[in-house]
C-alpha cells in the first residue's frame, strides 16, 4: 500500500514495522509528529516525557530491558539529552535504540540552527540520515539491525524538510521482535570510572568495525552518470543535488554518515574529474573528506547559514539563475507571527509591558511573542527554562553590584515542567527575589497542543494525575503564590503590583486555556466558555484613539475613517480589548 506521508509519520511507521515497543519524546518543532503518530500504533507504548533528557533516559532504560526503543527530539533538545546519550554510547544497548534528532536549518521554528551531525562524532554514535519519507521509514529498520549488531545506539538525523515534507511511502508489515532477555551485567551497564575505562576502549573498537561496515552498508551507494562532476551528499541535500544536476553528475549518496565510508569516498573521488560536497549547514562531510587528503569543493561556494535549496546550488555551482517574476517589495508588508485572537497570554503581557523598571526574562513557547510588536515586553529569550534561572542570574548580579532591578520571569506550563522547576528551586534555595510567572494555558501550545503533566491526560489518551502547580511551588519553598485569570486585566495589574513590591521569591500562575485548544466538557463548564459572546466596536462611541490596537489582537483592525473594527469570525470574546478601551466603545454581543 502506498501513502503520502511526512518524514515524521514515516519514522513512526518505520518504528512500528521494526517491532518497536517503547517510544518517548518531548514535543519540539520539527520533531513533534513523530511521537504523535507513534501513539496511533497500539503495539507501541508512547509517552510525552517532561523533557528530552527524561525521554532519552526512558528509551535507554527500555533498551537495557531488551526492547527496541526510540527517543525523538528537536536539535536543541539534544543538548538537554546529551548527558545520558554520551554515556549510553559507552554502555551500548540490549534491545536496539534510536535517538532521533530533528534539526531546523533556516530556523523555521527554533532559536538556533546547530548542526547535530557533530553530535555523532562527539558522542561516538553511528549516524543515519534519510533524504525523504520512504527512506525515513525504511532506514529505521536498518538502524535497529545496526544498533543490535554492533551494540550501539543510533543517531537518526532528520531536518525540517525531511520531517515536514510529504512524499509517497510504500508501507510494509510489522515484524514482531521478541524482547531480549535482560541479564544483570554490572561491567556493561554501570558506568562508573572503572567500567567506563573499559567501555571506552570497547567503543573505539566498535567504531573501527563500524568504519569498515560503512563501506558495505546498503545506505551508502553510488549513482554513476556523467563523471565530469561527482557529488558527495546526504540528507535532503541529495534531493536538491539531483534536482539541479540530474544525470549530468555522478553521486555518492551517504545515508550512513558516521563513521563515513572512507574507501567508497576514495574510490568515488578517483572516478570523477571534479568533486563537490553538497551539504546543508556545517561542512561536516567536507572536513572529514579533506582530512583524508582529498580535494573537494563545498564551503567555498555554498553557505553555512540558513537552509539550502536547489536554487542556491544551481547559482553557486552552475552559475544558473532562473528567470522570475519581479515582485514589488513596496507592496509587501511583513506578516510576523502573533498571538492568536483570544490568546490568554495577551492580557497578561499587556499589563506587564506597562510596568516600569522591570526586566522581563522570557522563554520558549507562544509567549516568546511577548517580545514582538506591539507588546515589545520581553527583554531576553535564550532556551527552555532560562527565563527562570537567567532571570535569577540577572537579579543576583544586579543586587551584588548595588543596582536596582526587579526581574519577572515568564514561562509556560509545559516549559516550567521541562526545565523551569529547577530554576525556581535555585531562586528559593539561594534567596533570590525574582517573580516567576507560570502561564498555564492548560496545554503545550506552540507545538500544536500536546498533553503534559499539568493537563490530566497522557499522549496515549489515558486520564492522568494532574500536577498541582500551587502545591508544587509551595513544596519548593515559595511563600507568595497567586493564581489569576489573565483575561481580567484589573486583577492581573493588582497581582503584578503586589509581587513587584516583594523582596523574596514569588510565583504568579495565570490560568486560562489556550484559545485554539479543543476544549473538554469539563473545561467548557469550568471556564464558562459557552457563555462568551463576540466583541463589537460601537462606531459612534469610538474616538479613534487606537488604544485597543496596542494589545496586538489580530481580530482588531483600524482605519482613520471608521476607527477600530473587530472581525466577528476571529473574535472569541476574551474581552481584553474591551477592558483597554477608555471610552467604553467595545461591547459584547451574543454570538
Amino acid at each position: 500500500m502506498k501513502k503520502l506521508m511526512t518524514g515524521n509519520e514515516a519514522i513512526a511507521r518505520g518504528a512500528y514495522e521494526a517491532g518497536v515497543t517503547l517510544a518517548a519524546a518531548y514535543p519540539g518543532t520539527p520533531s513533534t509528529e513523530i511521537l504523535e503518530n507513534m501513539a496511533t500504533y497500539k503495539e507501541i507504548y508512547s509517552e510525552w516525557a517532561p523533557n528530552e533528557k527524561v525521554a532519552a533516559e526512558v528509551a535507554i532504560g527500555g533498551s537495557i530491558a531488551g526492547a527496541r526503543t526510540l527517543a525523538a527530539m528537536k536539535h536543541v533538545g539534544m543538548n538537554v539529552a546529551a548527558d545520558p546519550i554520551f554515556t549510553f554510547a559507552y554502555t551500548g544497548v540490549n534491545g536496539g535504540c534510536i535517538i532521533v534528532t530533528a534539526d531546523d536549518p533556516g530556523m523555521h521554528s527554533s532559536q538556533n540552527e546547530q548542526d547535530n551531525r557533530y553530535y555523532a562524532r562527539h558522542a561516538k554514535l553511528p549516524m543515519i540520515e534519510p533524504s525523504n519519507s520512504q527512506e525515513s521509514k525504511d532506514m529505521v529498520k536498518v538502524a535497529y539491525e545496526i544498533s543490535e549488531r554492533f551494540d550501539v545506539p543510533i543517531l537518526y538525523r532528520m531536518t525540517t524538510r525531511v520531517c515536514h515534507s510529504k512524499s509517497i511511502v510504500e508501507l510494509g508489515e510489522r515484524e514482531e521482535v521478541a524482547m531480549k532477555e535482560y541479564k544483570k551485567d554490572i561491567p556493561k551497564y554501570v558506568a562508573n570510572p572503572g567500567n567506563g575505562k573499559v567501555l571506552h576502549v570497547k567503543l573505539e573498537e566498535k567504531l573501527k568495525e563500524l568504519e569498515k561496515f560503512s563501506n558495505d552498508c546498503e545506505l551508502n551507494y553510488t549513482v554513476m552518470n556523467d563523471t565530469k562532476i561527482g557529488i558527495i551528499t546526504s540528507g535532503v541535500a541529495y534531493e536538491y543535488a539531483q534536482e539541479v544536476f540530474g544525470k549530468e553528475a555522478s553521486y555518492l549518496k551517504i545515508g550512513f554518515s558516521f563513521p563515513i565510508p572512507k574507501d567508497m569516498i576514495q574510490d568515488f573521488s578517483k572516478k570523477v574529474d571534479k568533486l563537490y560536497v553538497i551539504e546543508e549547514l556545517e561542512p561536516y562531510l567536507e572536513t572529514e573528506i579533506k582530512a583524508m587528503g582529498i580535494e573537494v569543493v563545498g564551503r567555498e561556494l555554498l553557505p553555512t547559514c540558513g537552509e539550502l535549496n536547489p536554487d542556491i546550488i544551481a547559482e553557486a555551482l552552475k552559475n544558473e539563475k532562473r528567470e522570475k517574476v519581479q515582485k514589488n517589495e513596496d507592496k509587501v508588508i511583513g506578516r510576523p507571527p502573533t498571538m492568536c485572537a483570544g490568546c490568554p497570554h495577551r492580557g497578561f503581557f499587556y499589563e506587564l509591558s506597562l510596568k516600569k523598571n522591570v526586566m522581563i526574562s522570557g522563554d520558549i513557547g507562544c509567549y516568546t511573542l511577548g517580545a514582538a510588536a506591539p507588546l515589545n515586553a520581553t527583554d531576553t529569550v535564550i532556551c527552555m527554562g532560562a527565563s527562570v534561572s537567567a532571570g535569577h542570574g540577572f537579579a543576583a548580579a544586579s543586587r551584588q553590584n548595588n543596582r536596582d532591578g526587579k526581574v519577572v520571569s515568564v514561562i509556560g506550563d509545559s516549559t516550567f515542567f521541562h526545565s523551569g522547576m529547577t530554576g525556581l528551586l535555585d531562586i528559593v534555595y539561594n534567596q533570590g527575589n525574582s517573580t516567576v510567572v507560570i502561564l498555564d494555558n492548560r496545554i503545550t501550545g506552540m507545538t500544536g497542543h500536546q498533553e503534559n503533566p499539568g493537563t490530566g491526560y497522557t499522549l496515549m489518551g489515558k486520564p492522568a494525575k494532574e500536577v498541582d502547580l500551587v502545591k508544587l511551588c509551595e513544596a519548593i519553598g515559595v511563600d507568595t503564590i497567586d493564581v489569576v485569570n489573565p483575561l481580567e486585566l484589573k486583577a492581573v495589574n493588582e497581582v503584578l503590583d503586589k509581587h513587584l513590591e516583594l523582596d523574596e521569591p514569588s510565583v504568579i500562575i495565570t490560568k486560562w486555556p489556550c484559545a485554539l485548544k479543543k476544549f473538554r466538557e469539563e473545561e467548557i463548564k469550568e471556564y464558562k466558555l459557552d457563555q462568551r459572546g463576540v466583541c463589537k466596536v460601537d462606531t459612534d462611541a469610538c474616538k479613534k484613539c487606537k488604544k485597543c490596537t496596542k494589545v496586538g489582537c489580530p481580530a482588531i483592525s483600524f482605519s482613520k475613517e471608521t476607527g477600530a473594527t473587530i472581525d466577528p469570525y476571529m473574535c472569541v470574546g476574551c474581552e481584553v480589548c474591551k477592558q483597554v478601551c477608555p471610552f467604553d466603545a467595545i461591547k459584547t454581543i451574543e454570538r
Binding site: 510529504k166 509587501v332 507571527p337
Partner: protein, 195 residues
C-alpha cells in the same frame, strides 16, 4: 525533469490551505503521479504567512519550489500573492482571491495595506481574480473559500484525469461533502471560463 509541475498555494494561517493541498495531493497520487509537498509548522503558523508547495510528475526530487519555478501560484490573500510572486514562472498562471487579511504592522496602524496589488499583477501576468469569499457565502458557508480556490486551481491547470468529487468525499467530513463539492465545481468552472 521538465515534466514536473509546481503548484504554490499561499495565504495566511487559518484559511484552510492545508486541507485544500491535502485534497490536491491525494487526487494527484490517485492519478498515479509521484508527489512531494512541503508546508510550514510551529512558530510560523501563528498568524504568519503560510505556504504549501506541491510538486508532481513522473519523478520528483526536491520537495521545495524555487523562485521562477511555479507553474501556478494560488494566492488566498492579496499581499501574500505579491510576497510569493517571484516564485512564479514569467509565463505561469496566477489565481488570486481578492481578500485582504491585514498583518500586525497594518492592524496597529504603523503601515497601510498596500493598494493596487491585483491591478499590478493582472497587468503583467496571466491572472484570474476570484471573489472566493462572496462565492463561498453564496454557496452557503464562508469556510468553503479554500475549496473554491482549489477548484479554480484545478480549472486553471486542467487536471481532468482525477475524480475530484471522490477525493472530496474521502477527505471532508460527511456533512460538509455536498457543499464542498459545489464550492469546488464553481471555482473550477470560473477558472475554466476566465483563463
Amino acid at each position: 525533469m521538465s515534466e514536473v509541475k509546481n503548484i504554490l498555494l499561499v495565504g495566511v494561517g487559518g484559511q484552510g490551505i492545508i486541507l485544500a493541498s491535502k485534497i490536491l495531493s491525494t487526487g494527484l497520487i490517485n492519478a498515479g503521479y509521484d508527489v512531494k509537498m512541503s508546508e510550514v509548522h510551529g512558530m510560523a503558523q501563528r498568524g504568519g504567512s503560510v505556504t504549501t508547495q506541491v510538486r508532481y510528475g513522473e519523478k520528483v526530487n526536491s520537495p521545495i519550489i524555487g523562485k521562477g519555478q511555479a507553474d501556478i501560484v494560488v494566492a488566498f490573500e492579496e499581499m501574500e500573492a505579491m510576497r510569493w510572486i517571484d516564485h512564479l514562472k514569467p509565463e505561469g498562471r496566477l489565481v488570486i482571491n481578492n481578500y485582504r487579511i491585514p498583518s500586525v504592522p497594518i492592524l496597529i496602524g504603523e503601515k497601510e495595506y498596500p493598494q493596487g496589488i491585483i491591478e499590478d499583477l493582472k497587468n503583467e501576468l496571466d491572472t484570474v481574480v476570484i471573489d472566493a469569499m462572496e462565492m463561498a457565502q453564496n454557496i452557503g458557508n464562508p469556510k468553503t473559500q479554500n475549496i473554491v480556490m482549489l477548484g479554480a486551481l484545478i480549472g486553471a491547470l486542467g487536471i481532468d484525469e482525477v475524480k475530484w468529487d471522490d477525493v472530496i468525499s474521502e477527505l471532508v467530513k460527511p456533512r460538509f461533502v455536498e457543499i464542498n463539492k459545489k464550492a469546488f465545481n464553481e471555482g473550477k468552472l470560473l477558472a475554466e471560463k476566465l483563463f
